[in-house]
Point group: C2
Chain length 212, copies 2
DNA sequence: CGAATAGTGTCTGTGAGACAATATTTA
DNA sequence: TAAATATTGTCTCACAGACACTATTCG
């Protein structure tokens, strides 16, 4: 590597290099509302941030995300997706740090909450360190876009599920009420009926579906 | 900066850091077709790449994109937009290099073509170095998405313009024929008629529009 | 039975696609 | 006048939203 020179004749390692971090908004649905996993920032009691890590040598961004979730939050991440690189000078008081923001979506029962962690509803977020508030906004936006038109693309529901369960999940993600009949007709073509029924409390039993 | 330690107790500068580059697909429309600016890679005659540069200290990604376009291609870039970070290990034979891919869209008359540069139609692209072929695909996709539903968002046309000029521009970007009447009805609500008319060759004079 | 939930019928408005008709100009 | 282009009329189809109706179960 040291032999290479760029167009201005300088060796690659002559350039100062930034630290590169990954920060991930781990989204989930708890009690019918969209929530994001926060970890305590430093020692202070009221400073929160997203789980993240610096990128290690030879590691992919995806690898760094999965490692940081495992180590910092005890979460087995699934399919992290890149959102945006945050590069504002001075955004990190530790020096020259770029952050590659990611989003990952996991079922709430796979997010262990211990001391120093919390699941915060995205519509009632505390102040976050760095630009992590912006990252959450990017992540929520990306997730809502995915859920518009596709049945539970992040597989927050385990198949099989009823149309009602699916609709409640989409309502939680979108933050809006959805009409049962319109929703059913929009989703049905992308689902396969299992033939099984589910009796749940009062009311007529519901057909069970899986993703087509 | 040197005083800060991370959660494992190591100083920030103890970590090896990657080189961070920006690479930009400069898209334009020439002769009714979408094209991208390529620069010669190294000394060989048939190796092409996108203009790019390493990120300098204290510089934003956007700043690095605009600088690299000015210096490497003589183009005054406009509004670079981030696409994706390419991080495959071994993607760059010079070492550990991440590339933040960008797209920028400029009018063809502002892209000076000299020795070592070419505008290549995106539907007939030569092999590109690194993963720059993938970057072009990302860029074209992003541009086509922007043009679906919005009249010439990148301002490739100078206002005022006729509906025909606008349609031909959208056909060049999308790579598809568009129905004149459907297109007009889709765009008209987002345009303002200037009241002026343009006589151009044969046929009934056309009304001139500007973006609303 | 009444309440609750599941599922279907159907009306209406909107908008895209497509074709046709009209309008205005040059060759 | 014929050809070319601009613009508008209108028909059809698909689909979302909305409301109403039927179906099935539990208390």
């Amino acid at each position: 590597m040291t032999g290479y020179r760029d167009s201005s004749g300088r060796r690659l390692d002559d350039y100062p290099r930034p630290s590169v971090a990954v920060d991930t908004a781990v989204l989930t649905v708890v009690d019918g509302a969209l929530a994001v996993l926060l970890v305590r920032a430093g020692r202070s009691d009221d400073e929160w941030r997203l789980p993240g890590s610096f990128l290690h040598e030879g590691e992919t961004l995806r690898g760094a995300v999965l490692r940081s979730l495992r180590v910092k939050a005890g979460v087995e991440g699934l399919r992290p997706r890149q959102l945006h690189v945050f590069d504002r000078p001075g955004r990190d008081d530790r020096g020259w740090v770029l952050s590659v923001a990611h989003v990952d979506v996991v079922r709430a029962d796979r997010v262990p909450i211990s001391k120093g962690h919390q699941l915060a509803r995205v519509d009632d977020l505390p102040d976050l360190k760095y630009d992590h508030g912006e990252i959450v906004a990017f992540a929520v936006d990306a997730l809502r876009t995915d859920y518009r038109g596709t049945p539970d693309p992040a597989a927050l529901l385990e198949a099989p599920f009823t149309m009602r369960q699916l609709r409640l999940m989409h309502e939680a993600v979108s933050g809006e009420r959805l009409l049962p009949d319109t929703f059913r007709r929009a989703m049905a073509p992308r689902l396969r009926a299992t033939g099984e029924m589910l009796v749940e409390g009062r009311g007529r039993p519901a057909e069970l579906f899986e993703r087509a």
